[in-house]
C-alpha cells in the first residue's frame, strides 16, 4: 500500500509562481538577455527538414548590426525604394497610434490599442507576403492594413463606430475587417484565428490555389488550446501558412513567464510539432522581412508551415484600459536591448546614404498631418456616444442571412423604444 511508505523525511513540495524580474521602480538590467551577433545565423534551404534546423528556435535571426549595416545570409537585399516604403509605413502607423490614442483620451471613442515598438512585426511581415495572401491577425497588426492601402479614414470610422463604419458600429474599436484586402475579421477571443488560418490554408491547398495564409498572436495567447490545435493541424496537413508569435514580453500585466518563457523560447514550440521554427529580432525590420519571406516561399512551394517568434517589446500599455506603470518598470522600454524598429531602419537608411535626419523629421510631420486630415474627415461622420449613428434594424441584421421572426419582433421592439427614449433623434435615423 502506498500509504505505508514513510513520508516524514521527504522535503515539502513547493509551487513555483513566476515573477517578472522588474516591477515599478526597479532598476532594469538586461545584460543577461542573450542577443546573438547580427549576420551569424545560417539561412537554411527552403526545403529543409525541420529536424535539421532545430537550433534556430533558440537562436535569433538578425540582419542589422550595431552600426546599422545589413549583414549576413538573411539580408533580404531590398531596394532603397522598398526600404523607404517600409520606413514610411511604420512611421505612419506610429503617428496614427499616437493620434488615435489621444482621441480615446479625449472621449471620442471607448478604446484603443497602440502597436508602438512592434510596427516591424506587421509592416515588414506584410510587405514580405504577396498582396493577396490571407492574413488572420490579432489586435495589434494594424500595420498590415497600412501596407495594403486601407484608407486611414475607414479605420477611424471604425474606431469611432460612426455612420460610415463599415462594420456598422458592432465591433470594439480596432477590430477591423477587410475581405477585399485579405484581412480577416479580428476577434477579441485570443488565438481563435490560429486554427482558422490553418483551415483557410488547408482550403487553399485543397483547391490547388497559390495563395498562402499568415496569422499572428501574442506570446501570451500561445497558452490557448487553439494555438496547439492549430499547430497540430498545420503539421498534420502540411498547411501552407506562416504562423507568427509576437513576443512583446507582456500580456496585459502578465509577463511572458506565464506563457512558459522561463523554460524555453516560443519558437521552440515548433520543434515539438515537427514544424520549421525561426526566432527573429522583431525590432529588426530586415530580419522580420527576411524570415517572413523565407517562410512564405517555403509554404508556397509545398514545403509546409513555419512558426516565427518575433522577439520584441510592447513599448506602451496593452490598451487604453491599463496603466503599465502599475505593474512593470518604466525603465524596461529605455533599456530594451533591441532598440526601436523605426529608429534602426532610419539609421540603416541614413547609413546607406538615402535618408537624412531632416528628411525623417519632415516625414514625421507629414505622417501627423495625414492622420489629422483623416481624423477630421472621419469626425464628420460622427463619434462614439454622440448621436445614434446606425438605424436600429442594423443591430438585428447579419445575425443570420435572413432575419427570423423572433429577431423581427425584437427589432420592432427596439424601434418602439427608440421613439420613447430618443424622441428627438429623427435626424440621425
Amino acid at each position: 500500500m502506498a500509504d505505508d511508505k514513510p513520508k516524514t523525511n521527504l522535503p515539502p513540495l513547493s509551487l513555483h509562481v513566476p515573477e517578472p524580474k522588474y516591477r515599478p521602480g526597479d532598476t532594469v538590467d538586461y545584460s543577461d538577455v542573450v542577443i546573438p551577433k547580427a549576420g551569424d545565423q545560417p539561412r537554411p534551404d527552403l526545403a529543409s527538414d525541420p529536424a535539421t534546423m532545430r537550433e534556430m528556435v533558440y537562436d535569433m535571426v538578425r540582419v542589422l548590426d550595431d552600426d546599422y549595416k545589413a549583414v549576413g545570409p538573411w539580408d533580404p537585399k531590398l531596394s532603397d525604394e522598398t526600404l523607404l516604403q517600409m520606413l514610411k509605413t511604420m512611421a505612419q502607423v506610429r503617428a496614427f497610434d499616437d493620434r488615435l490614442h489621444r482621441m480615446q483620451r479625449q472621449g471620442k471613442t471607448s478604446f484603443y490599442m497602440k502597436s508602438t515598438g512592434e510596427e516591424a512585426t506587421s509592416v515588414a511581415a506584410a510587405m514580405a507576403l504577396h498582396s493577396d495572401d490571407m492574413c488572420f491577425p490579432s489586435y495589434r497588426q494594424q500595420g498590415i492594413l497600412f501596407v495594403r492601402g486601407y484608407p486611414m479614414v475607414d479605420m477611424i470610422n471604425q474606431i469611432f463606430s460612426n455612420r460610415e463604419d463599415k462594420l456598422k458600429g458592432r465591433q470594439l474599436p480596432i477590430m477591423y475587417c477587410s475581405r477585399e484586402l485579405g484581412f480577416f475579421s479580428i476577434s477579441g477571443n485570443l488565438a481563435t484565428q490560429y486554427p482558422q488560418a490553418v483551415g483557410w490554408a488547408m482550403a487553399s491547398a485543397a483547391k490547388g490555389d497559390t495563395r498562402i495564409a499568415a496569422t499572428w498572436c501574442g506570446e501570451g495567447s500561445t497558452a490557448e488550446g487553439d494555438f496547439h490545435s492549430a499547430m497540430t493541424f498545420a503539421a498534420v496537413y502540411n498547411a501552407p501558412i506562416v504562423m507568427n508569435i509576437v513576443n512583446n514580453q507582456w500580456a496585459i500585466s502578465s509577463f511572458s513567464g506565464f506563457a512558459g518563457a522561463e523554460r524555453t523560447t516560443f519558437a521552440a514550440r515548433a520543434a515539438g510539432y515537427g514544424i520549421a521554427g525561426l526566432r527573429v529580432d522583431g525590432n529588426d525590420p530586415l530580419a522580420v522581412y527576411a524570415a517572413t519571406q523565407w517562410a512564405a516561399e517555403r509554404a508556397r512551394t509545398n514545403n509546409g508551415p513555419t512558426l516565427i517568434e518575433h522577439f520584441t517589446y510592447r513599448a506602451e500599455a496593452h490598451s487604453t484600459s491599463d496603466d503599465p506603470s502599475a505593474y512593470r518598470s518604466a525603465q524596461e522600454r529605455e533599456e530594451w536591448p533591441l532598440g526601436d524598429p523605426i529608429t534602426r531602419l532610419k539609421r540603416h537608411l541614413i547609413h546607406r546614404g538615402v535618408w537624412s535626419k531632416e528628411q525623417h523629421e519632415a516625414l514625421d510631420k507629414e505622417c501627423i498631418d495625414a492622420v489629422k486630415v483623416a481624423t477630421k474627415e472621419a469626425e464628420k461622420n460622427g463619434i462614439l456616444g454622440h448621436g445614434l449613428h446606425q438605424p436600429f434594424e442594423t443591430m438585428f441584421q447579419d445575425v443570420f442571412e435572413e432575419m427570423p421572426w423572433h429577431l423581427k419582433e425584437q427589432s420592432d421592439q427596439a424601434n418602439r423604444e427608440r421613439e420613447i427614449k430618443w424622441p428627438d433623434a429623427e435626424a440621425s435615423k
Binding site: 476577434s187 482558422q196 497540430t232 493541424f233 423572433h406
Partner: protein, 340 residues
C-alpha cells in the same frame, strides 16, 4: 425511392451534396477511410477523394476552428463531432467565432458550416456518450439548431442545412439511427424498413429549416417534441388513447412558432417533451413562448417531461429516460379530466 435507415439517409444526403458542390468537404475523427464510428460517411472518401472527406486530429477546437477558416475561404465544410458529448472543446470556435462572424464582419465573411453530431441516450453510452446539449446552442445567437426524427427528414433537413449560409448544429438522435424507438426499452426495436419514413429518394431533395411537422393531428392536447421523443410521444398517445396533436419541431432555431401557436390555441393544452436535462432546457423556452402567446387559450398548466437534472447514468439509464411512465403521468395531469 429506396428503403434507408437514418444513417443511410444521412450518408445519401452527404453524397448528393458532395457530388453537387465541390466546396462541400467532410472532416472529423474517423470519418475518412473508416467511414465514421456510426458509418455515416462510409464510402464517401473512396468516392469523392481524400481532400473532400478526411480524418482529423482528436481536437474539436481544431475541427471547428479549421472549418471556420475553410468557410472563410469559400468552402462549405460539414465537420462531424463524433459524439455531442465531445463538442465542448470546440465551443469557443462555435459560439464566439462561427456564430458571430457574419455579424462582426458585416457579412464580409460567413460561416456556412454544418456541424453533424450524434446526440442523446438510450444506448448504454454512460454520461459521456448520451448527452443532449441542444439548448446550449439554441441560446447562442447566430446558430441554427436542427434535429431530425426520421430517415426521410434527416436527409432533407441535412441538405437544407448544408446549403444554408449560416452555421447549423445538426444533432442526430443516435438511438433511432436504426429504427424508431418507442420508449419501451424491453420490447424489440423494429427497423426503419417497416416504416414509411424509411422510403427515401436517392436523389437530392430538401425539407426547409424552420418548419415543424404535425406527425399526428388531434384535438385534446398539443405535444411538442423532437428527435427520439417524437416516437416515444406517439407510442404513449396511442396506448393511452389520447387525441393528441403531436408536433415534431424539426428545427429549434429558427422555431416554427406559427404551427405551435395555431395548435395550442386549438387544443388549449400543451405538453413539452425532451430527453435533455430539465433546468434551462429548450422546454423552458417553449413553455414561455406558449404562455406568452396562448395564455388565454390555455385550459391547463403547461407540462414539461424531460430528463432528470443529473448526468446521464449508465446502469440506471431506463430510470433516467423520460419514457412512457413519465409522459403518461403528465398526460393524465393535463387531459385527465377529459379521459376520466
Amino acid at each position: 425511392m429506396t428503403t434507408m435507415n437514418m444513417i443511410e439517409a444521412i450518408n445519401s444526403g452527404l453524397d448528393n451534396m458532395m457530388a453537387r458542390d465541390d466546396d462541400v468537404v467532410i472532416m472529423g475523427e474517423d470519418v475518412g477511410y473508416f467511414g465514421g464510428v456510426f458509418r455515416a460517411t462510409a464510402g464517401l472518401q473512396e468516392k469523392h477523394g481524400k481532400t473532400r472527406c478526411f480524418d482529423t486530429p482528436i481536437s474539436e477546437c481544431g475541427i471547428i476552428g479549421v472549418a471556420v477558416g475553410m468557410a472563410a475561404y469559400g468552402m462549405r465544410p460539414v465537420p462531424e463531432i463524433q459524439f455531442a458529448d465531445y463538442i465542448y472543446p470546440g465551443l469557443d470556435q462555435l459560439v464566439s467565432e462561427a456564430a458571430r462572424l457574419r455579424y462582426r464582419s458585416a457579412a464580409e465573411f460567413t460561416s456556412a458550416i454544418t456541424v453533424r453530431s450524434p446526440f442523446g441516450g438510450g444506448i448504454f453510452g454512460g454520461q459521456t456518450h448520451s448527452q443532449s446539449p441542444e439548448s446550449m446552442f439554441t441560446h447562442v445567437c447566430g446558430l441554427k439548431t436542427v434535429i431530425p426524427s426520421t430517415p426521410y427528414d434527416a436527409k432533407g433537413l441535412l441538405i437544407s442545412a448544408i446549403e444554408d449560409n449560416d452555421p447549423v448544429m445538426f444533432f442526430e438522435p443516435k438511438r433511432i439511427y436504426n429504427g424508431p424507438f418507442t420508449g419501451y426499452y424491453d420490447k424489440p426495436v423494429e427497423p426503419w424498413s417497416k416504416f414509411e419514413a424509411s422510403e427515401v429518394p436517392e436523389d437530392y431533395y430538401k425539407i426547409p429549416l424552420g418548419k415543424a411537422n404535425i406527425v399526428r393531428a388531434g384535438e385534446a392536447v398539443t405535444i411538442l417534441a423532437y428527435g427520439t421523443m417524437v416516437h416515444v410521444a406517439r407510442a404513449v398517445v396511442e396506448e393511452q388513447g389520447v387525441d393528441a396533436e403531436v408536433i415534431d419541431l424539426r428545427t429549434l432555431v429558427p422555431l416554427d412558432i406559427e404551427t405551435i401557436e395555431a395548435s395550442v390555441k386549438k387544443t388549449g393544452r400543451c405538453l413539452i417533451i425532451h430527453e435533455a436535462t430539465r433546468t434551462s432546457g429548450f422546454g423552458a423556452e417553449l413553455s414561455a413562448l406558449v404562455q406568452e402567446r396562448c395564455f388565454y387559450h390555455l385550459e391547463a398548466p403547461i407540462e414539461r417531461v424531460t430528463g432528470f437534472d443529473t448526468p446521464y447514468p449508465h446502469s440506471l439509464e431506463w430510470a433516467y429516460f423520460p419514457g412512457p411512465v413519465r409522459i403518461g403521468e403528465a398526460l393524465d395531469k393535463i387531459v385527465g379530466e377529459l379521459t376520466a
